[in-house]
């Protein structure tokens, strides 16, 4: 056996187990999903399904439903942008605070701030749902008793419910960004700040010209991941709004897919909608990574 062949055999044995798992859990389901999306698989055609071309995709964009695909898509974009904005701003802000030399007991603060991320989402969602109750929830009790403000119908009106689920998810999501940002901040050489101090740079200039450019290569992939996770976050919206309440006004695209596929057995339609979501996220990720030059080295 030649040296080259031996190398290839060895490499093959190294990657074969992982590749087999990849085929089983990613590639096969993905291809099967594409096939279903081109079929009429549903409650009455679960075993005798056949290909119907792009009919399910056309339905996704043209079907009359309440709310429509476009309403839900717009809501999903608002949900993602608002959540990501607060996740990053709060996360980076707290990371900057925790990165200060003067702060004592950093480990304790770090642990406390990571807690929202460590608690299971189911518990978080149901706890927040209770907290948003009109009469007995702690949010309204604080608003009325501490601040003298009127109580809010958090879970009865569409806008307020949407705000409630966003608040819950912001609380859940900032620790991830904080941990990532803190790791990036700690890797910045301190000499850069000392040199900037000698040049008389202000706090803002140091943030703009040293901190942000140097944490960017770490934050951009984290933001990309955060966007995909937030866009596809079913648990919080489903549990806090009790499956889209009130009146199906609190849906995201992913909960729309869930409902179509698992509540109404519309497997073909659900698969087509999930492919649309996939392409939206793929386009976003590629564009975002290219525009932010995330893969380029910082130094």
């Amino acid at each position: 056996m030649s040296e080259k062949l031996k190398t290839k055999t060895f490499v093959f044995f190294l990657i074969a187990p992982a590749f087999l798992v990849l085929i089983g859990v990613v590639i096969y389901p993905f291809i099967f999903n594409i096939i279903i999306s081109l079929s009429n698989m549903s409650l009455s055609h679960i075993k005798d399904w056949h290909f119907v071309g792009l009919r399910q995709y056309v339905k996704v964009f043209t079907e009359e439903s309440k709310p429509s695909f476009y309403d839900v898509f717009l809501k999903t974009i608002i949900w993602t942008v608002v959540n990501l904005f607060f996740h990053v701003v709060i996360g980076v802000f707290l990371a900057l605070l925790l990165n200060q030399k003067e702060i004592r007991g950093k480990a304790i603060f770090r642990t406390i701030l990571v807690l929202p991320w460590a608690v299971p989402q189911l518990i978080v969602a149901l706890t927040w749902r209770g907290m948003f109750n009109y009469e007995y929830g702690s949010i309204n009790l604080m608003l009325t008793q501490w601040f003298g403000l009127p109580a809010v119908q958090w879970l009865k009106s569409p806008v307020e419910t949407f705000i409630a689920v966003i608040i819950t998810n912001v609380w859940l999501g900032f620790p991830f960004m904080m941990i990532i940002a803190l790791g990036a901040l700690q890797s910045i050489p301190h000499e850069l700040y000392e040199a900037a101090d000698m040049d008389g740079a202000s706090w803002f200039h140091k943030l703009k010209n040293i901190t942000i450019p140097l944490i960017r290569p770490v934050m951009v992939p984290a933001i990309t991941l955060g966007t995909i996770w937030t866009f596809n976050n079913l648990n919080i919206v489903w549990l806090v709004s009790n499956a889209g309440e009130p009146s199906d006004q609190t849906h995201l695209l992913v909960s729309f897919v869930y409902k179509a596929a698992f509540n109404f057995y519309r497997y073909g339609y659900g698969a087509a909608l999930s492919m649309v979501i996939f392409f939206i996220l793929l386009a976003f990720s590629l564009t975002f990574m290219r525009r932010t030059k995330a893969t380029e080295a910082a130094y």
Binding site: N40, E64, K66, L126, K156, S247, F264
Partner: protein, 427 residues
């Protein structure tokens, strides 16, 4: 020693062999764990998927142990799954030729399972003398065949009342309002009630059904077509809204958990809840009674709840040998002795005629009133279209309670949405 490659210069031949050996061992272990190895046990495994709460699980587990003691060659396992994940999980597993031998749940799951051809018709598997022992409500037929045998009847709603606050339960909606008004109190003088007369999960349309039937409505005709745009729906919606906004005897906002906690804390005198909740109130130390939901005086109709048996269906993929034991297990779990035991511990309504006629069911106050509530109720349809009807009702129902849709418009929208969703489901 000669290196294998230039790139992996530090890896010599023996290291490579060790790696290969480890890989083979790991593969063998993985294979063994996943069932590739020869069977080490001869026991026949029967699995039941169900969605029962913890106290029912305890009773079921004890009965399964008794069955296994009688049949040591059989290993029975029960697996809890939340209602929706049981339904979708069973569909996925059974379509792939897998899944548990027995699936247990409310009768409305029979419709989709039958349409997908993933459960067996039971008519020919059980003899007539055995089936004749059941109250007809305990046997779920669909499209002319038997698909489910129930051990519990009900899943129905009742008026549960705190005896300390409500000595005598209301029998009409007027009495309900009067008692509710007397119980709704502002104890601390802050202008907001601290106690209410009544609470229930009034965001969920299942709990709206008694009000709809009380005012003369029903969800579908005998052919499975929705009939939601009717006077019963409109008047039922207005009545609930009046309970909150006019008579102010129910909390401003109440889902299942809030209503349940308020009742357990003694902050509401009455709650509309099902047989599944009673043991929780017993454990919470509430001295409670159970009554059928009241009669609407203007129509003369009782607020009739949906009644659904809960029982066993057999997976279409089951082998002949396992089918035999699945049948035995169903017969054992629905035996008179086991049904009576469950009724005594859980206050669930049995399905065998002899147990229904037993002293315990006839004389126990909770069981007697539960039976009256069942008699006032209507069977839950088992057609798959029911899913579309619930989903069509929910948004408009919530919109009425949210104050942004009149009841008449809501009833019309429910009907149109139901028709559209049924069309989409059956496309």
């Amino acid at each position: 020693m000669k290196p294998i490659t230039r790139r992996f210069g530090s890896i010599n031949r023996s290291t490579f062999h060790i790696f290969l050996f480890s890989f083979v061992i790991a593969g063998a272990v993985f294979c063994g764990l996943s069932g590739c190895s020869p069977k080490t046990t001869e026991k026949i495994r029967i699995t039941i998927w169900h969605q029962d709460r913890i106290d029912i699980r305890v009773v079921l587990e004890a009965q399964i142990k008794k069955f296994m003691a009688l049949h040591p060659e059989v290993q029975v396992e029960q697996l809890f799954k939340e209602t929706e994940s049981l339904r979708s999980g069973f569909i996925i597993a059974a379509i792939a030729g897998q899944g548990p031998e027995l699936v247990y749940g409310p009768a409305d799951q029979v419709g989709p399972f039958q349409v997908m051809d993933i459960i067996l018709p039971l008519d020919s598997l059980f003899d007539k003398s055995y089936l004749d022992q059941f109250d007809p409500k305990g046997l779920t037929y669909y499209k002319g065949h038997l698909y489910q045998i129930a051990d519990k009847l009900g899943n129905h709603l009742t008026l549960v009342y705190n005896k300390k606050l409500v000595p005598k339960p209301p029998t009409t909606e007027k009495e309900l309002i009067d008692i509710g008004k007397s119980l709704t109190r502002d104890l601390d003088g802050d202008g907001k009630p601290d106690m209410y007369g009544l609470a229930w999960n009034y965001t969920e349309p299942f709990f709206f059904i008694p009000f709809m039937t009380g005012f003369g409505g029903w969800i579908m005709d005998d052919n499975g077509n929705p009939t939601l745009n009717n006077r019963g729906t409109i008047d039922g919606l207005k009545f609930i809204k009046d309970l909150r906004d006019k008579y102010k005897i129910i909390p401003n906002e109440s889902d299942y958990e809030i209503a349940d906690i308020l009742f357990k804390d003694g902050k509401v005198g009455m709650i509309i809840n099902g047989d599944w909740s009673w043991s929780g109130y017993e454990k919470a130390g509430i001295d409670f009674g159970v009554a059928p939901l009241p009669k609407i005086t203007t129509t003369g109709l009782w607020c009739g709840t949906m009644v659904s048996p809960k029982g066993f269906s057999i997976n279409a993929n089951v082998s002949e040998e396992k089918k035999k034991w699945s049948i035995e297990l169903i017969k054992f779990l629905t035996s008179d002795e086991n049904e009576l035991e469950a009724a005594r511990i859980l206050h669930t309504m049995p399905t065998k005629k002899s147990v229904l006629a037993s002293d315990f069911v006839m004389k126990n106050d909770i069981m007697r009133n539960s039976q009256i509530a069942i008699e006032h109720g209507r069977p839950m349809p088992v057609v798959p279209e029911l899913r579309a009807i619930w989903d069509a009702m929910r948004p408009s129902y919530q919109a009425v309670l949210g104050g942004y849709k009149p009841a008449e418009q809501a009833a019309a929208d429910m009907q149109n949405d139901a028709l559209r969703k049924i069309r989409e489901m059956n496309e």
